[in-house]
Subunit: 220 residues, 2 copies
C-alpha cells in the first residue's frame, strides 16, 4: 500500500488492516517540498506496526509541478474542478508501478491506494477510470499476471467525503495527530493552513468536530 503520511493514506492503512491484510507500506522521497510528510509516514507505519520502505526517486529531474519545481503553491484557492499546479505529472502511475513491482516480489495481489474522487484536488490520477486502467495493466505487465494472478487495486476512499474518511478512521483508531497534509510547510515543519491540502483537511475536521473540540486538538 502507498503511504504518504496524510489523512487518506493513514485511513486506507487502517481499513486494509481491519480487513485482515498483512500490510507493507511504501513511501517516496521524490524531491517534494514536504519532506516532513515522510516523517509522518514513518510514524504511522510504526503506529500500525507494518513493514515500511521509503524509496528515493528524483521527480525534480523533470519538474513541472509546484511540489517538484520552483512554482509557488497556491494559497486560499477556491477548490474547484480544475487541475492545480500542485499536480505532479504521472505521479500516481509512478507510485503504483513501484507498488506493483514490490507486490509481485512479495507474492501480494492487493494494492491499496487512498485516492479520493470527491473531496480532492482535481488530480486526473485519482479517478475510478484511471484506477481501473491501472489494474488491467497490472495483469498484463507481470509474470504473475501471465501465470493467472489477478491484481486488485483497492481504493476504499474513492467515493467518500473527507469527513466520512475521518469518521471511518476514528472508528478504526487512527491517530490523526500523526498525519500531515500541507503542501508548503514552514522550515520548522508547521502546516501553512492555506494550501489546498490544508483547506480540504480543515474542512473535513470541521465537519466531524465542534469548534471547541478542534481548539483542544492542535495537531488537527
Amino acid at each position: 500500500m502507498l503511504l504518504s503520511g496524510g489523512v487518506d493514506s493513514a485511513t486506507t492503512l487502517a481499513i486494509a488492516q481491519a480487513q485482515g491484510f498483512e500490510c507493507h507500506a511504501l513511501s517516496f522521497s521524490y524531491g517534494q517540498r514536504h519532506g516532513v510528510e515522510l516523517a509522518a509516514a514513518r510514524r504511522i507505519a510504526q503506529a500500525f506496526g507494518v513493514d515500511h520502505k521509503v524509496l528515493e526517486i528524483d521527480l525534480r529531474a523533470f519538474g513541472g509541478s509546484a511540489l517538484t519545481d520552483e512554482i509557488a503553491v497556491p494559497k486560499d484557492r477556491p477548490i474547484d474542478d480544475s487541475i492545480p499546479v500542485t499536480y505532479v505529472p504521472a505521479r500516481n502511475t509512478i507510485f503504483l508501478s513501484f507498488a506493483l513491482a514490490w507486490a509481485e516480489v512479495l507474492g501480494a495481489r492487493d494494492i491499496f491506494i487512498g485516492v479520493n474522487a470527491l473531496d480532492y484536488s482535481g488530480y486526473p490520477d485519482c479517478r475510478p477510470d484511471y484506477i481501473a486502467a491501472f489494474q488491467k495493466l497490472a495483469d498484463l505487465a507481470t509474470k504473475a499476471g501471465v501465470e493467472g494472478a489477478r491484481f486488485r487495486v483497492h481504493t476504499p476512499l474513492i467515493e467518500m467525503t473527507k469527513a466520512d474518511i475521518i469518521r471511518k478512521g476514528l472508528e478504526l483508531g487512527v491517530d490523526y495527530a500523526l498525519t500531515f497534509s500541507c503542501y508548503d510547510p514552514s522550515p520548522a515543519g508547521e502546516p501553512c493552513g492555506r494550501c489546498d491540502a490544508c483547506l480540504i483537511r480543515a474542512k473535513g475536521f470541521a465537519e466531524v468536530f465542534t469548534h471547541d473540540e478542534r481548539r483542544t486538538m492542535h495537531a488537527l
Copy 2:
C-alpha cells in the same frame, strides 16, 4: 524515449530521429548488474546528439530478479517462451511511467520504447497488449490527457526479428559497436557471451553478417 544502451533502443532512437522527432532519451540506473550499459546509453545519446537524462531508482530495494538481486544469470539457456529469472518485476511499467512524466512536462505526446515480441526473452511487458494498455492509461493518468491530448507509445521494433532490427539500424547509420547487451559482464565490462542477451544479439548479427565479417567486428 527509453534508451537502455542495447541494440534495440539504439535502433529505436535512429528510427524516431529518421521520422523527424526531436528526441529526449531517458535511462535508468536501477541497481542493475550491468552498469556498463549506462555508459553505452551515454555514448549512443551523444552520437545521436540528443538530450539525455539518467535517473537513479533503486529496484534492488525489492529484488526478485537476476538483474537486481543475488540470483545467478542463466547461461547457455535454450531461448523458449518461458519467463526467465532476468525478468525484473514491473520494470517497463516503471520506466514508461517516468517517460510519461517527462513527456508531459516537455509537452511531448510520443513515447518510444524498443520492445520486441519476436526475438526477445519472454518478458510480459514487451507484448502488444501490454503496450496498448499503457497507452490507454497514459491518457487517463495525465492533465494533458484530461485536456484532450492523446499519448502514443511507439514500438517500431515490436514485430521485427533481431536480424531485421540490425539491418534497419545499419541502413540508418547506427554504430552497433557503441551498444552493449550483456546481462552479466565481467568486472572489466566484457560481455559474457552466454546469457540470453548475448545469445540473442549474436544470433542476430550472425544472420546479418558472414563469419569473416564478424571476425573483423570484435565489438559485435
